[in-house]
Symmetry: C2
DNA sequence: CTGTCAAATGAAAGCGCTTTCAAAATATCT
DNA sequence: AGATATTTTGAAAGCGCTTTCATTTGACAG
């Protein structure tokens, strides 16, 4: 790998001049510019971004922290961020927090130590305090899926309580009164918030909220199935299943079918997130739209604006969940 | 952010000594060690990995190039790699190639310029020659999903032709003779290979391969649906649909239902990849298992062994696709 | 107490680049 | 032409760390 020094040698100019033509940071005569460009060409020169980063304290990299690298939700989020940033030659460095405090902290430290210009964080375990403290450091951050008042201007979030409420109310409005809730892991903020929304809607309908009707899953398909097993085994009756996310919803639908209780026909199932396969399930999944890709783009725009002073517009930070009505929730038929 | 210099000041030792206790690269007296540790603690010192990387020419980072950041397939692959590496305190830097030559090259250059210790590449447009050339450079690489003889020891792949063949033969064995193929983008190697497998199986069954029975999709759900529209509109009759991947398969099943042609009952549908939701579709999807997560782990082990000289075992590089029989392919019922 | 050898340490160069500051080259004006 | 303002340039310091090499320290034998 040739270095800037070799380029300067070959071009017969100083290091500084080469650096200047690379960055366009100052005027360089056309003549020198050409000599430098030719030399670069000839040597197949590639700047070493680590060195650039060390010297300039800027990396053109944005760090992303997600819980997992797989999963439709995070995939959309990462893509939203990456594609937006890519348009401005910014790169992303992604790390996984695995939903535990240690990994999340380490992930953040890693990203910071790699000189990321900014961090987009989807943390599930880090405390508000930690994040507030972090935001005071010299690496700007954007917090996803969480509304922290002290740093509201750095948050891009969706009202999960409202989402849970809308989902539940929709099922209630279709005449279902015996509901169960397949929730996400309770240690996750969004999961808890959705449960709160569920509770609100249920109470509003004059139904007593019953802890036993909430099953704590892990946002994966299997736990949706496990939840159904649990409710059936426990003899808890239900005609409506409100799920914490789409994956658990399809797991639940699959298992319901095994019990000969047909989704939609015998029992209403509603999801959350509206991931891409929700439109292709059978029955197609009624769910709550979570515009995560769009929100990822917004997060990216936020750093573009704040960190790189690039004029982007239409930045919105708080999003509203909306009902995506498909076929998995139908009016309760009297028996 | 405190630097190593400040630590050395506070500890009353030299830079070199601090560096040594950080890396355990040489003997340091217990006394100095303690002084250094205390100083680090007191200052909340975090080594700057960019500087480390520049000075040591090692980053403890492995670069990954995937086509997209979303999608179940890439998600599994990234997770397989990341989790394995994480156990040895190695980090991943991920970049997307968006299935076009320019972005893929730029992605590779970016990863190299970031001093990645190795690259795991899932390229769709880069030529074999480019990869062979790349492998001669000073950054070791692992190539996923592609068998290149010249660098076989750096490839982790699956026999896609065989997969396409097995899938097709399974449908044929169930009595279906009117088949259509919903393929992935033809510019992608794996898509083409799966088509070849399809063709082999079809020919073997004494059926003429008909170009018109192959629809070129894009591996996304919508194109599975579009393919069904296409075949129906064109008046092409079929009772079996062999798909290039699971996503197109569920898109196809959803659309078939709209035409009142029930998947499994009226028409057999088989997928490819065996992504996690395949077990939760209705009917559950018969498909070809592509152990991508496992293969990601293998790729990780390969770099662990080759680059970091860490003794890992059970490294396999060539994988066999296997049939996952579920409910979407049933014996053809005579009309 | 001196001499020897191994262990521990520090000074300094270097990784590849940016950036400041002053000097050199060129342009502009009387 | 000379004086002055402007544009281009290069030398050199520095970013935070690693690593080599020489020096110092300490342990131990004689």
């Amino acid at each position: 790998m040739p270095t800037i020094y070799e380029v300067s040698e070959l071009a017969g100019v100083s290091l500084a001049t080469v650096s200047r033509v690379m960055n366009g940071s100052a005027k360089v005569s056309e003549k020198s510019k050409k000599k430098v460009r030719d030399a670069m060409e000839e040597l197949g020169y590639r700047p070493n971004s680590v060195a650039i980063s060390l010297a300039s304290k800027r990396s053109n990299c944005i760090g992303i922290l997600v819980a997992e690298l797989d999963g439709a939700f995070f995939g959309s989020m990462m893509t939203g961020i990456e594609k937006t940033l890519r348009q401005y030659q910014k790169h992303v460095v992604i790390t996984a927090g695995h939903s535990n405090d240690a990994d999340e902290r380490e992930g953040v430290e890693f990203l910071k130590s790699r000189n990321c210009d900014a961090l987009v964080i989807h943390a599930e375990q880090l405390s508000d305090e930690y994040l507030i403290e972090l935001s005071k450091g010299d690496t700007p951050i954007v917090v996803m899926n969480r509304q922290i008042d002290a740093i509201a201007e750095k948050c891009v979030s969706l009202d999960n309580v409202k989402g849970g409420y809308i989902a539940t109310r929709h099922v209630l409005e279709k005449g279902h009164r015996q509901l169960v809730n397949i929730a996400g892991p309770k240690f996750k903020n969004d999961a808890m918030e959705r449960i709160v929304g569920f509770q609100q809607a249920v109470n509003e309908a004059g139904i007593d909220f019953d802890e036993n009707r909430v099953f704590e899953g892990d946002y994966l398909q299997e736990s949706g199935a496990a939840a159904i097993d649990h409710f059936v085994m426990s003899g808890i009756e239900f005609t409506g299943v409100v799920c914490g996310n789409d994956q658990m919803a399809i797991g639940a639908m699959a298992r319901l079918r095994e019990y000969k209780r047909l989704p939609s026909k015998d029992v209403a199932v509603i999801g959350f997130d509206d991931v891409s396969f929700a439109a292709c399930t059978y029955p197609t999944l009624t769910t709550i739209n979570y515009p995560i890709k769009l929100m990822g783009q917004q997060a990216a725009k936020l750093v573009l604006k704040d960190v790189y002073k690039i004029g982007v517009k239409d930045i919105r930070q708080i999003y509203e969940p909306t009902l995506m009505e498909r076929n998995s929730v139908k009016r309760l038929r009297s028996k």
